[in-house]
């Protein structure tokens, strides 16, 4: 039998455990404690900041953080579950396996709440496109999402893809899932004498040490060696798991449900009963295995995919089993819950584990020193602007800005026939009833955060807030994913803290509670660390009759700019194409303006006074207008006078701004409501004419389209 090697515990933690337990844990017990105390499962380095800065209550919140997913109410009888998770480390070493199992895991989290998964969104961050390693990541990740997501019949409806050299070795794969809840199934069990049913795939050796591996930094060796720590996905079983689970829910047979993710069976059992104040006895021999001669610790911490742990009453067991048999799903009754707060594991007639639940689930908070990064961005930004035409084409062709159709058309975004606003708009809209819809967006502003982590985090929330607004949605709630570096590195840990603080403050200011989240640390490799990257998944409520897309609809309508433009080029796409990233001040979030402008834009949409809306973000005003023209295949004529230098006005990425397309007859009202300015009109010509001060672009729309629609 292989010996277990403890990977996540410091000597100090080990002695604390021995003292608490009053004896030395045996090998199997060490393995269980080790995974439960890993960063990935316990959030030991991140919990203190999260508690301090994040607010999770609100009018719409039904289930906040701590369960497998957050749940909000969007209408009288409509409850929506959503959650986001990262699969960064696995995707770095095995992009295909990493991203596909990331999809599988998040879908099971939603399922665990008793919800039907209805949509996926993903936020992907890759390295430079001229690196071979980046293409290894992109092709594998996209194919993994496509193969797995498409096969399980859950549409991938949106997200974002960004590129920077800081992700060369550490790409980020954050996936979010949304579900409709009919009856909430808790992930916590407080009833002793319930049967614990493990169903889905057999347990194998894949994914052993998965959590430990996600709680360490990557180096050359680990990239080669840790491939065995990446799980193997099986979408067919996942699909059957979804179908069978939904049938179990609809007949009210589930007392509690958890998916087996990080930490495998150990984590699922301890969290299910531990948080419910009870314990469990597990008969390890009953776990269906994929391989022979697996040692007990391997069975207990394996992260084999597509497995669920269901608690049900013994009276209902037969009915549960008949459903699982109908779908040809492997199952086993592996144990029962007990009133004592203990986890007992039996194997071959012997008691091999006897641990108090507290040791597994109450992991002490770990604090690390922080050290602020010296602000080197106050450097004066002075440069000679190139021609506006040349810059616009370059910005549109920049992969951060250009159309992502080449990616999202590899995903089935239509299955389940709910996708009203398709990928490529500011946010996606899913139809729930003939009237009520959910708007969903994923946003990050890591380029701002690379210069100022606090403003960058706030910026991600502000951008998501605008994206929901732009499609006609009322922003309701957030789940977040924070990706950062090694917490033992004081600068990385400071960046992490600033990110949580920014998220918390912005969410509070916008009255959009954070109902769940995920933290991925250790995104560092010998060649460097990633920018602190906060990914915000925001949901909003829409009336299906009042939704908006960014594509221009008519000729001779008026373009209105809402919101003020400042000299805020820091972190912008413009400075990136000029090779000046790192200079200048980043866009500042002005809460009051952001909220007022959102409210006013929504008012115009609901009154039917606008034809299209686009938020202004990456690439500034000129890019926003160009995107609207390209998508709507309409010409435009814009002329603006500004106190800012023309190119700065055109490319500044100040927040709180929108472009509206307004029919002539409503212009006066829209200007009155929004305080915006008319900047030009749509035309029947096929040219893009944009003039600001003495800067000017006059190009055929087709030229811009060629740049924007670049396919890789």
């Amino acid at each position: 039998m292989r010996e277990y090697i403890v990977r996540n515990l410091t000597d100090d933690e080990k002695s604390k455990i021995i003292k608490k337990l009053g004896r030395n844990p045996n090998d199997v017990e060490w393995a269980m404690i080790d995974v439960m105390w890993s960063e990935h499962v316990s959030y030991k380095s991140s919990r203190s900041f999260i508690r301090r800065f994040l607010r999770s209550s609100g009018r719409h919140v039904v289930v906040g953080p701590g369960q497998d997913a957050g749940i909000i109410r969007i209408a009288d009888d409509i409850y929506i579950a959503f959650k986001i998770e990262s699969h960064n480390h696995p995707s770095a070493v095995d992009p295909y396996g990493g991203s596909s199992t990331g999809i599988g895991g998040i879908v099971r989290d939603i399922l665990s709440m008793g919800a039907q998964p209805i949509a996926l969104l993903d936020s992907l961050h890759f390295g430079d496109l001229d690196k071979r390693r980046t293409w290894f990541h992109i092709l594998g990740v996209v194919k993994g999402i496509s193969d797995y997501g498409n096969r399980i019949g859950v549409p991938t409806v949106g997200g974002e893809t960004k590129f920077s050299s800081c992700y060369n070795e550490n790409p980020l794969v954050n996936v979010a899932c949304i579900g409709i809840v009919n009856r909430i199934v808790p992930s916590v069990l407080n009833k002793p004498d319930s049967a614990l049913v493990l169903y889905g795939n057999r347990t194998g050796r894949d994914g052993i040490h998965g959590v430990s591996f996600a709680s360490e930094t990557l180096d050359e060796e680990s990239i080669e060696e840790d491939r065995s720590a990446v799980q193997i996905g099986d979408p067919l079983t996942e699909k059957l798991l979804i179908d069978a689970s939904l049938e179990i829910f609809s007949r009210g047979l589930a007392c509690a449900l958890k998916d087996l993710g990080g930490g495998g069976l150990t984590c699922a059992v301890s969290e299910m009963v531990g948080k419910g104040g009870i314990g469990a006895v597990i008969e390890l021999d009953r776990v269906p295995l994929r391989e022979e001669n697996m040692s007990p610790y391997e069975i207990l911490i394996s992260e084999s995919q597509e497995r669920m742990l269901l608690a049900t009453s013994y009276d209902n067991l037969e009915e549960v089993i008949s459903i699982l048999n109908k779908y040809d799903i492997q199952w086993a009754v592996i144990g029962r819950s007990i009133p004592e707060r203990k986890i007992i594991v039996k194997y071959k007639g012997k008691k091999i584990v006897d641990l108090p639940v507290e040791i597994l689930v109450n992991v002490p908070i770990q604090r690390h020193p922080t050290k602020p990064r010296t602000k080197d961005f106050s450097k004066d930004l002075k440069f000679e602007p190139p021609s506006l035409e040349e810059s616009l084409v370059k910005v549109l062709r920049n992969p951060n800005v250009s159309s992502k159709e080449w990616i999202y058309e590899q995903y089935d975004y239509e299955v389940q026939t709910r996708t009203v606003i398709k990928p490529g708009a500011d946010a996606t809209v899913l139809k729930i009833t003939s009237e009520v819809g959910v708007a969903a967006t994923l946003d990050s502003c890591a380029d701002y955060a690379s210069i100022d982590p606090y403003e960058g985090a706030k910026g991600a929330v502000a951008e998501a807030y605008r994206n929901i607004t732009a499609v006609g949605g009322e922003p309701l709630a957030i789940v977040d994913n924070i990706n950062a570096g090694d917490p033992n590195n004081p600068i990385s840990y400071w960046e992490f803290r600033e990110t949580v603080r920014g998220l918390g403050n912005a969410a509070r200011a916008f009255s959009v509670p954070v109902v769940g989240g995920n933290v991925s640390l250790y995104n560092e490799s010998p060649s460097g660390k990633i920018w602190p990257t906060l990914v915000v998944c925001m949901l909003g409520k829409v009336n299906i009759r009042h939704i908006m897309t960014p594509s221009l609809k008519k000729t001779n309508s008026i373009l209105v700019l809402v919101g003020d433009t400042y000299n805020e080029l820091g972190g912008s796409e413009y400075l990136k194409i000029l090779g000046l990233h790192g200079y200048g001040s980043v866009p500042r979030v002005r809460y009051k303006k952001e909220k007022t402008n959102s409210k006013n834009v929504l008012r115009c949409i609901r009154k039917g006074m606008v034809l299209s809306v686009h938020d202004v973000s990456d690439g500034g005003i000129i890019t926003a207008v160009a995107e609207m023209a390209i998508m709507g295949k309409k010409g435009i004529e814009v002329a603006i006078r500004s106190n800012l230098r023309g190119d700065i006005f055109a490319f500044s990425e100040s927040h709180a701004r929108y472009i509206l397309e307004v029919p002539e007859e409503h212009v006066e009202d829209v200007l009155k409501i929004t305080g915006g300015i008319a900047i030009g009109k749509t035309s029947s010509s096929s040219s893009f004419y944009f003039e600001v001060n003495d800067f000017c672009v006059d190009l055929p729309i087709r030229r811009l389209e060629e740049a924007y629609a670049i396919r890789w």
Binding site: P235, K239, L240, K326, D328, E414, V415
Partner: protein
């Protein structure tokens, strides 16, 4: 008269609920039938094999589903003249089981493609297309990895019902999303009761979702059955 439409569900089928909704909207009574309950198929008036990834497309798309008792039953019913419509993976099951000629193979781009496309209705004298005009251009989404139609030898062009086209109805190479022979999007059996198509009519059955051209395909079938 209540028209009952059977929707077989194989492990991995994922468009069954969408077809169910569309068939209901079109005015018939849909019935989803798990592949183990294949005898239930004897009680329906027509069959719509929905899309998805039956058996995860292992071996080849539709290959395993084609060898189940459910598909054998559908084949027998089709031989007796029952109308059968196969959508996407359903089309793949139809060619794999020999109910339709030819083969469907990996897209020319070797990638999965999800996209709204224009189709030219070549024939409107079938149970599935009678509510369209001949030559009409309609819009529906496709979503597949293996949709490139390859004909068998001696292919009869009369079988072509739908072709990929541009918005004006021109059948061009640019409008062909997957490299199908002659831009074929849908073909019918020689007996004219089995139609297979790669695009998804059920996803184009409501204006809010981008169009309702697909709904007429189900309405055509229902009208045909009522006569």
């Amino acid at each position: 008269m209540v028209v009952t439409i059977g929707i077989p569900v194989y492990p991995g089928t994922n468009c069954d609920v969408d077809v169910y909704k569309a068939v209901k909207l079109a005015g018939a009574s849909p019935k989803r039938i798990w592949y183990k309950d294949y005898k239930e198929m004897w009680k329906v008036d027509a069959i719509v094999i929905p899309g998805g990834f039956s058996y995860a497309d292992y071996i080849r798309a539709g290959a395993i589903a084609a060898r189940t008792k459910m598909t054998e039953t559908i084949k027998e019913l089709a031989e007796d003249g029952m109308p059968v419509l196969g959508i996407c993976n359903g089309f793949q099951v139809l060619v794999e089981s020999g109910m339709l000629p030819g083969a469907l193979t990996v897209n020319k781009s070797a990638r999965f493609i999800c996209r709204w496309v224009y189709l030219k209705v070549v024939r409107n004298d079938t149970p599935f297309t009678q509510l369209y005009d001949e030559g009409e251009v309609i819009r529906m989404p496709i979503a597949h990895m293996e949709g490139r139609y390859i004909p068998s030898s001696g292919f009869n062009k009369r079988l072509i019902v739908l072709q990929y086209a541009d918005s004006c109805g021109n059948v061009t190479e640019d409008a062909n999303p997957n490299g199908s022979y002659m831009n074929i999007a849908g073909i019918i059996s020689a007996r004219e009761n089995v139609l297979g198509l790669m695009p998804h009519p059920e996803r184009a059955s409501e204006d809010a979702l981008g169009g309702s051209d697909g709904l007429r395909m189900f309405k055509s079938l229902i009208e045909y059955l009522r006569r």
